[in-house]
Amino acid sequence: MSDINYAKYLPLSEATYYVLVALGEPSHGYAIMQRVAAISEGKVSIGPGTLYGAFATLEKQGLIVKISEQERRKSYALTENGRLVLVEQIRRLEIMVRAGHAFQKSLPNGTAA
C-alpha cells in the first residue's frame, strides 16, 4: 500500500504543507485561506494566485481530489496518498524539531529563545 515515492513530494513548501493540513476538513478555496492564516498563527497567508496554482498541482499529483462544486467554488479533500504524504512530512518535521531542541539545550542558559 505504502509504495509511495516520498522523495517525489517532500519536503512540502510551507504553503503546500498548510494547505494539506487545512484540507484535513474538506473545503473550498477561501475557507482554506482563512484556516491557514488561523492555524499558522498569522505567520502564513496564501494569496489566491498561489492557492489556485497549488490546487492544480496537488490535484495533478493525486494528493487532493475535487469533491464538489457549488457556485463556481470547488471543494477539495485529501486523497489517501495525500494523507500518507502529509503524515510522512509531519514525521520528518518532528525529527527536525527534536534536533533543534537538542541544539537549544546545548546553548548556555539564557541564549535560547
Binding site: S13, M33, P48
Partner: protein, 180 residues
C-alpha cells in the same frame, strides 16, 4: 452623473509588470482609477477619491476558468480587466498593507514561466523564419548598396536580437526570484 475620464498611452515591457502595478497604484493615489486598457497600451482612468489601491497582474492566457475568478473575488480582489492574456486585479489597502496574489517566490516564478513559454512560442518561429530569409537577403545585400544592408541589419535586430533580449529579461526576473 458626470464622470471624468482620461486616457494615457504608456508602454510597459512584459518583464516589468511590477513597474506597471506601481504606476497604477500611483495613479489611484491621485484619484485616477483604472477602467480599461487595450492592446495598443492605451489606459482609461476614471476620476474618483484618491485611494491606496494595490494592483496586481497575472499572466493567464486562454479562456478563464470561473473558479479562478471566484477564488480571487472571495479573497477580496476586484477583476478590473483582462487584455492580451493579462488579468488586472486590484484591492484597497488596509492600513497601508499591500496584499499579494502570489505569496511565495515559487508561485510567482510559475507565472513568469507561463509568460516565458508563450514568448518562446511566439518569438521562435518568427526568428527561424527570418533566419532563413536572411541567408537569401545577405547575398543580395552584399551585391547591393547600403539600403539593402540597412534592411538586413534592421531585420536582424527586430527578428533575432530583440526576441532574445525579451527572453533574457524574463529569465533574469525568474533567476532573481529564486534568490529571494
Amino acid at each position: 452623473m458626470n464622470t471624468t475620464t482620461i486616457r494615457k498611452f504608456k508602454l510597459h515591457f512584459v518583464w516589468q509588470e511590477d513597474k506597471e502595478e506601481q504606476w497604477l497604484h500611483d495613479m489611484a493615489r491621485q484619484g485616477w482609477h483604472l477602467q480599461t486598457a487595450n492592446m495598443l497600451c492605451i489606459y482609461t482612468f476614471v476620476q474618483g477619491q484618491p485611494a491606496d489601491v494595490t494592483y496586481r497582474l497575472d499572466y493567464r492566457p486562454g479562456v478563464q476558468d470561473p473558479h479562478y475568478v471566484q477564488l480571487f473575488e472571495d479573497a477580496g480582489w476586484e477583476r478590473v480587466l483582462h487584455v492580451m492574456g493579462w488579468e488586472y486585479w486590484r484591492k484597497s489597502q488596509v492600513q497601508g498593507q499591500e496584499a499579494e496574489i502570489f505569496t511565495d517566490a515559487a508561485s510567482k516564478a510559475r507565472q513568469l514561466w507561463r509568460l516565458m513559454s508563450v514568448s518562446v512560442a511566439v518569438l521562435i518561429p518568427a526568428t527561424i523564419m527570418l533566419a532563413t530569409n536572411l541567408r537569401h537577403m545577405s547575398s543580395e545585400a552584399l551585391s547591393g548598396g547600403t539600403f539593402e544592408l540597412g534592411v538586413l541589419i534592421g531585420a536582424s535586430i527586430a527578428g533575432i536580437v530583440l526576441p532574445l533580449y525579451v527572453l533574457a529579461r524574463i529569465l533574469m526576473r525568474i533567476h532573481k526570484l529564486g534568490r529571494g
